[in-house]
């Protein structure tokens, strides 16, 4: 059996297989792939404990479009396979691991490298490399060094270091983290609390989930650093219950950290006590808002309260509380070990460091990316994202989640940082980025986001509860072809009034998608209202369905699909749509195999 | 009150009996105050307590002595306060030594850990207040129970500062005022003794008649005398002893025996059945006057409608006096208050005119006095200004369960009804919610007796029996049952015992032995 011999000959210590087992990976079947690697290696006579050592799971590396992804590192030479299935594993083991020649056609292509090369990974560096369920793997790459280091400093010195780094909150508003800490540390009251906000609710956003799944210890270490700096002995991680894998990994990580003496009493053999509790959210978007989150931890209905007083003064149980999001916290260890100076050298003058974005929508390389602040939107969309799908023309990019704003393609060269995004009527948010091409109707898109925020409004304040409802009703009538003269002005009036009078960030930013699309795409609104046309041909009520005689293959599928008998068709005759009877449901459009319905 | 950091609630169920006081207590709890509850029933407050001392009925003194003992043993007492402002400490210390944890656990049924923890919480507090209710006073040792509470507060020095002290929650709207203004056998209005010649002289001058120096009969004694045939005529103003007094059979006999009974009330009651003449009363909506609440706040009652029967009580009493040869000619109750102000120094500065503009708590001796909110800030009401520790012994209830009557009956109120129910039972809405008496019985006991919620049961004591529906609930602990006295169809006070506090004459409503049968 030559194969067995070769495997034995190979220095197994030099073999490492890393399989991506984030939520995306698992959904694509990475657990099965990993198991198959194990059993294949064993069938080649390799001992179970060695197999266990060299087949590693890792968190998400961002390029989710090509899951399952796995690295095979043999004698320091790393090859990455994409779109793996368990059936493919035996050939990889046979040809690559045993015989030393990688299976070329299954390796990742240039877009994988392009996707990664433009990024600057601080936060995501270890995601996709280390085993998230192994504390030693984290320690091995320098984990908990930051936490160890701070105990030789005064809390005020830690705060000063973070201030000097220029780190701003990655949860949305971009408040200076060091300043927030300083306010809290100086606030009267005890005990104090530090809360990790992992209630990631923006549709399409999965930055926080990936970090916790891929590198949970970095979050814990960040909380230890924050806790020490502000003088908090208790930390909470508020995480949405829809993230079972992240919760599980976090629980493992917390329990391992306790065992190592990194959490609990007298952590790191100092006099400082610090421990963390996990609080699972119940699926309300609003609970990502810090004061609503506090109410939720306190066991109340998750509703925001007015600020001031800010949580740094009166937070959880009325005590001084710092709330940082996952990304902010997991950046901290690196800042402490590498220094504020190093960190502040990355990014722009006012926006330091890197930012993680989840890019989705009409873009080729959807996934998770980390780039330095200030990178141009163009680089993100084209160089990393690979441009629009099907080579359609880019129309706009929505940043900041459902309550962010739309940036039109004409501003593609703008830098992505806090100030520039604000100036254009959008915001950084938590890092969602939705790319839209010319098949997107901007009115419809604004309606979609507004219906999300309207549904998720907690109902506490009048403008958000009723105001967004009324805006949504106006948008709905516009997309239904029943828009009236004056509707745009009414939207603007309502939108601006809601922005000014709402209680929390949700309401204050809910009109953004509408206001920014009116600002940049007012003509589309006018076309809907005045001409009864949806330029992107998305709004069904405004569409006039016709059959292209050239493309029609006379199959009759549209005829059968039509629920209102609006289509006339006979065998060997092209179909014909009666506009009077058509209810614009789009069933024929869906049914036509030849794209003959226009 | 909301600044309290530790609240010790003893023998009081304010969420039911004093809902508005409970709102203040709840505010303190919401602000994070610790809560200790001493109560045999698992009340709303007991459920939320940090420590629930689920003591057996009648074991108050053992409980309190035990707490004081723990505090002294552990050195948690306020030595400075004890030295400067009290006396009798050594005697107390010797006495409470007899109440070690094991004995107190046995007497009260409360676990040692809870006793120690309660002692720790109370003694370590900065601003601790004790609030007690009728669960303390309605025992034959009622006065001693209250003294034992005072011992606890004094040992820790939790007195005389804002948000500290002892607060007694009293039963009826004008208990305070009715005591203040002298329908008492030993004192003239303002607690001025009939034995005091100076006081008598003052009143004789004002009223123009000689005042008897002989102490009169207490209500209980008057009833006893009635039964004995020595007492001939009785005027009962707005009272229903035939439902609300304990040992009703005795009361009924007394009222039957008296030769001439006048009852003035707004409704027919158990008592009016015995009357020779019934006079209609005016409800609080039909007359002017004042009530004095538990914190000595004198507040106006204002006439909203004309008296339904044409006259209010003050007019009736005046006319009757005039008819009997003592002329009374008040034009309105305001003039009566002016007379009170002239005779009772605590009320000296109070007039209707002032009450229109401000809220006054007595002592308010003069027209320009602002009234008094906190008492005993630096001196106690004893000649030397020092508080005296009282060494007390556990005596238990007058009647304890035995084989024949194995349960302890605790009586009290529910939120929806009031006393004999003559007012609340006339609200259709309230009757829709709480239509009848419910005997609260512990699930374990109920199972043994094969009783389900809603079953009719007979509750009997040595003195009689009543039938009512059972409610199986763990609000009652094993061995205890609870009933109210709001319903005329189930006269609970037929069951209650004849034992009384010898000092105040308050009956032992809170514990008697009963049997439960289906």
């Amino acid at each position: 059996m030559p194969a067995k011999k070769t495997a034995k000959k190979a220095d197994i210590k030099d073999l490492v297989i890393r399989v991506c087992v984030g939520t995306g990976g698992l959904a694509a079947g990475s657990q099965e792939v990993m198991d198959e690697f194990g059993s294949q290696l064993k069938s080649h006579g390799i001992k179970a404990e060695i197999v266990k050592k060299c087949v590693n799971k890792t968190g998400c590396r961002g390029f989710c479009a090509k899951d399952v992804l796995a690295d095979v590192i043999l004698n320091d030479k790393s090859e990455t396979y994409q779109l793996l299935t368990p059936e493919m594993v035996s050939r990889i083991v046979e040809e690559h691991i045993v015989n030393g020649s990688p299976v070329k056609e299954w390796l990742v292509g240039p877009e994988y490298h392009a996707f990664h090369d433009k990024q600057t990974k601080i936060l995501l560096k270890q995601c996709g490399h280390i085993d998230p369920e192994d504390i030693d793997a984290y320690i091995k790459i320098g984990g908990y060094e930051g936490a160890r280091k701070i105990f030789s400093l005064e809390p005020s010195e830690v705060i000063e270091e973070i201030r000097a780094s220029g780190l701003r909150g990655r949860g949305g508003a971009g408040f200076l983290t060091g300043l927030k800490w300083e306010l809290c540390s100086k606030a009267e009251g005890s005990p104090k609390y530090i809360i990790c906000n992992a209630d990631e609710g923006d549709p399409g956003a999965f930055m926080d989930r990936s970090v916790i799944e891929g590198n949970p210890h970095s979050v814990i270490e960040g909380m230890v650093i924050g806790g020490y700096a502000i003088g908090a002995n208790y930390g909470y991680v508020y995480i949405r219950a829809e993230y079972p894998l992240a919760i599980q990994r976090l629980k493992i990580a917390i329990s391992d950290a306790r065992k190592k003496g990194f959490l609990g009493e007298n952590i790191f053999k100092t006099k400082f006590d610090f421990d963390i509790k996990i609080k699972e959210g119940a699926g309300a978007f609003i609970c990502g808002e810090e004061t609503a989150l506090i109410a939720s931890i306190e066991g109340k209905r998750g509703m925001p309260r007015a600020k001031p007083p800010f949580p740094a003064h009166k937070g959880l149980w009325g005590k001084p509380t710092v709330i940082n999001n996952v990304e902010t916290l997991s950046t901290l260890p690196t800042i402490i070990t590498q220094g504020a100076k190093w960190f502040s050298s990355i990014g722009t003058e006012k926006s330091k460091g890197t930012k993680v974005f989840a890019i989705t929508g009409k873009i080729k390389n959807t996934g998770l990316i980390e780039v330095p602040m200030g990178m141009s939107l163009r680089e993100i969309v084209y160089d990393i994202g690979g441009g629009c799908e099907k080579n359609c023309a880019l129309k706009a990019v929505q940043t900041g989640g459902p309550s962010g704003g739309c940036i039109p393609a004409s501003h593609i060269d703008m830098p992505v940082d806090y100030e520039s995004l604000m100036a254009i009527g959008s915001m950084m948010g938590s890092g969602g980025m939705v790319v839209m091409d010319d098949t997107t109707c901007m009115v419809d898109m604004a309606k979609f986001f507004l219906s999300f925020t309207q549904n998720e409004s907690c109902g506490k304040c009048t403008p958000c509860r009723i105001g967004t409802k009324r805006m949504l009703e106006i948008l709905t009538r516009i997309t239904n072809g029943k828009g009236r003269e004056g509707d745009i002005e009414l939207l603007l009036e309502l939108g601006n009034s809601i922005k000014l009078t709402s209680l929390c960030g949700l309401g204050m930013s809910a009109p953004n998608p509408v206001l920014s699309t009116i600002r940049f795409f007012r003509d589309e609104y006018e076309a809907h209202i005045r001409d009864g046309i949806c330029p992107a041909a998305v709004c069904k009520a405004l569409r006039i369905y016709t059959v292209s005689v050239e493309l029609c293959k006379m199959c009759g599928k549209c005829f059968k699909a039509c629920p209102s008998a609006a289509i006339a068709w006979e065998k060997k005759q092209p179909a014909k749509i009666d506009k009077g009877k058509c209810i614009k449901c789009g069933a024929c459009y869906e049914a036509c195999p030849f794209n003959a319905i226009l | 009150m909301p600044d309290i950091d530790t609240l010790f609630l003893f023998g009081s169920n304010p969420t039911e009996a004093h809902p508005i006081v409970s709102i203040w207590l709840k505010k303190a709890l919401r602000k994070g105050a610790k809560l200790i509850v001493g109560d045999p029933r698992k009340t709303w407050m007991a459920k939320r307590a940090d420590i629930w001392l689920n003591l057996k009925p009648g074991s108050n003194i053992a409980m309190l002595n035990g707490l004081v003992n723990v505090i002294l043993q552990k050195g948690w007492e306020n030595k400075d306060f004890i030295a400067k402002r009290t006396e009798g400490f050594d005697e107390l210390k010797a006495k409470v030594k007899e109440y070690d944890l094991a004995r107190v656990e046995k007497l009260t049924g409360v676990s040692k850990e809870n006793i120690v923890e309660a002692a720790r919480l109370y003694s370590h507090a900065d601003k601790a207040m004790i609030v007690y209710g009728l669960g303390v006073t309605e025992h034959r040792t009622g006065t001693e129970n209250a003294m034992a509470i005072a011992n606890l507060a004094l040992v820790c020095g939790h007195l005389g500062r804002p948000s500290t002290g002892i607060m007694a929650l009293r039963g009826q709207n004008n208990v305070q005022g009715a005591s203040d203004l002298g329908p008492l056998p030993a004192t003239l209005p303002g607690y001025q003794s009939v034995k005091d010649p100076k006081a008598r002289e003052k009143f004789e001058k004002a009223w123009g008649v000689p005042i008897s120096e002989k102490i009169g009969l207490k209500s209980v004694e008057m009833l006893d005398e009635c039964k004995a045939g020595k007492f001939k005529g009785l005027f009962i103003l707005g009272e229903d002893p035939a439902q609300t007094d304990p040992d009703l059979n005795h009361v009924n006999k007394a009222l039957e025996s008296v030769e001439f009974l006048v009852v003035q009330d707004i409704f027919h009651t158990e008592t009016t059945k015995h009357a020779d003449v019934i006079l209609p009363g005016a409800s609080f909506a039909e007359k002017d006057g004042t009530f004095t609440n538990g914190e000595r706040r004198v507040q106006r009652v204002r006439k909203a409608i004309e008296p339904l029967a044409g006259k209010a009580e003050w007019q009736v009493i005046s006319e009757l006096a005039t008819k009997m040869g003592y002329c009374q000619s008040y034009r309105n109750p305001s003039e009566i208050m002016d007379e009170i102000a002239g005779l009772v120094s605590h009320y000296g500065g109070i007039s209707y005119e002032r009450l229109e503009k401000e809220s006054l708590q007595w002592p308010c001796p003069t027209k320009d006095h602002p009234g008094t909110t906190t008492m005993y800030t630096d001196l106690f009401a004893r000649p030397n200004g020092l508080a005296l520790f009282m060494s007390l012994d556990h005596k238990g209830s007058g009647e304890v369960p035995d084989k024949q009557y194995p349960f302890v009956l605790i009586t009290g109120r529910v939120r929806e009804h009031y006393n004999n129910g003559s007012m609340t039972r006339r609200s259709p809405g309230i009757m829709e919610l709480v239509p009848e008496e419910l005997v609260e019985i512990n699930p374990e006991d109920a199972e043994k007796l094969k009783i389900k919620s809603g079953d009719m049961v007979t509750v009997s004591s040595k003195r009689g029996s009543v039938r009512a529906k059972a409610k199986v609930t763990n609000r009652s602990q094993k061995g205890n049952v609870f009933m109210t006295f709001h319903f005329d169809k189930a006269l609970t006070n037929i069951l209650t015992s004849e034992h009384r506090d010898p000092i105040t004459g308050t009956p032992e409503y809170k514990a008697c032995a009963v049997r439960i049968e289906r």
């Binding site: 009078t501 | 001939k232 609440n293 106006r300």
Partner: protein, 371 residues
């Protein structure tokens, strides 16, 4: 000279104020001192500046839900709610100008756009905060017409009527229930436009989930929550309100008896009451039926044989006077006595005490304080 003394007084005043940790703020150009944690609304009220609001009740924690109390604060780019914003040193506040009024009008329009606007048959007309604001700001909800709640009135219990359509989500009812009474009967349910106060699982109110204290009714600014027993018996302006003290327990709560045509038809809260600040329990708020109960004793009654016979006052009092006099003559002064009641007024207790001493000439008088 006078001026100098005044100046000195002023500077002393300021010094004292500052030493007490007071801070200076300016509202509509009026300088004033306040405590550090005072809200803008509280300070404004103190100096007589009116700021409209719907969700504020002094019994409750500041909420900031209705947004009507927004004011401009110098240096802050967006308006702030006066009810939740604490005053800070040298804060300069404008409570009323065109842009603030426009925003407020917008909010009122939004509220009215989901409101039945049936004031002509509403229980609260004349006493409704929303109605008053609509009048003051001259707006209705017609510009923002859209979906409106169309829910039936809920009268599933004897005391509290709930018309959800009139609810403006100010949260006062749910907060008073949870913050003050801690009964947990109602809480906001649902999300977005469909949020509304309700019981858990929309169950009817029973003693299982409700204390029937009516605190929620007492704080409701519109006609959403009303006292069921008082409905249709007269609007606020039809009723004579007499402030009095409760005759149940010894707490000493004040409230208003609402009287129409010689009948007590409702009890309403007196939020200035020193003891209860407008809070009441089921007995105080709803236990007034006994006043006009059918079986009130309306005339004196004299027992003849086994029956009570109606009598005139003079007849009855003559009989009593005669009977007591003869008993005293026959058996001595000590053979008669009186019980007084802690249910009666101070004046009555005093009078009875006086009566026994001056007419019976004994001390045989006692009350039920000990019972």
């Amino acid at each position: 000279m006078k001026h100098a003394r005044l100046m000195q007084y002023c500077s002393e005043y300021w010094e004292e104020a500052l030493s007490e940790n007071k801070i200076k703020i300016t509202i509509n150009g009026i300088e004033t001192l306040c405590d550090r944690d005072d809200t803008i609304l509280k300070v404004a009220k103190k100096i007589g500046v009116k700021i409209p609001h719907l969700c504020n009740d002094k019994r409750l924690e500041p909420y900031g839900g209705c947004r009507l109390c927004i004011v401009e604060v110098k240096g802050v780019p967006r308006p702030l709610p006066a009810c939740t914003t604490p005053a800070t040193e040298n804060m300069e506040i404008i409570t009323d100008n065109d842009s603030i009024r426009k925003l407020r009008a917008n909010l009122i329009e939004l509220l009215l756009s989901n409101h039945p606007n049936d004031c002509m048959r509403c229980e609260r007309t004349g006493d409704c905060k929303l109605q008053n604001l609509s009048y003051e700001y001259g707006v209705d909800g017609s510009r923002f017409e859209g979906e409106k709640w169309d829910l039936p009135i809920r009268e599933d219990n004897p005391f509290i009527s709930y018309e959800p359509n009139k609810c403006i989500l100010c949260g006062r009812c749910t907060r008073i229930c949870n913050e003050v009474v801690m009964a947990g009967t109602i809480e906001l349910t649902g999300r977005g436009f469909n949020s509304m106060p309700d019981t858990a699982f929309k169950k009817p109110r029973t003693l299982e989930n409700c204390e029937f204290c009516g605190q929620c009714v007492s704080t409701c600014p519109t006609g959403a929550l009303t006292d069921r027993k008082g409905r249709g018996k007269g609007r606020s302006y039809d009723l004579k309100k007499i402030k009095t003290t409760c005759s149940y327990c010894g707490t000493g709560c004040n409230f208003y008896l609402n009287v129409r045509d010689g009948k007590v038809v409702k009890v309403t809260s007196d939020t200035d009451a020193p003891v209860n600040q407008g809070n009441l329990c089921i007995k105080g708020r709803y236990g007034y039926d006994f006043i006009h109960s059918e079986d009130r004793i309306k005339t004196p009654l004299i027992k003849i044989g086994d029956k009570f016979v109606e009598a005139a006052w003079d007849e009855a009092l003559d009989l009593i006077a005669e009977k007591f006099s003869s008993l005293m003559k026959k058996h001595g002064n000590e053979s008669v006595g009186a019980f007084s009641s802690s249910r009666c007024t101070n004046e009555e207790n005093f009078l009875l005490s006086k009566f026994v001493r001056t007419v019976f000439r004994s001390n045989n008088v006692d009350n039920c304080a000990r019972v």
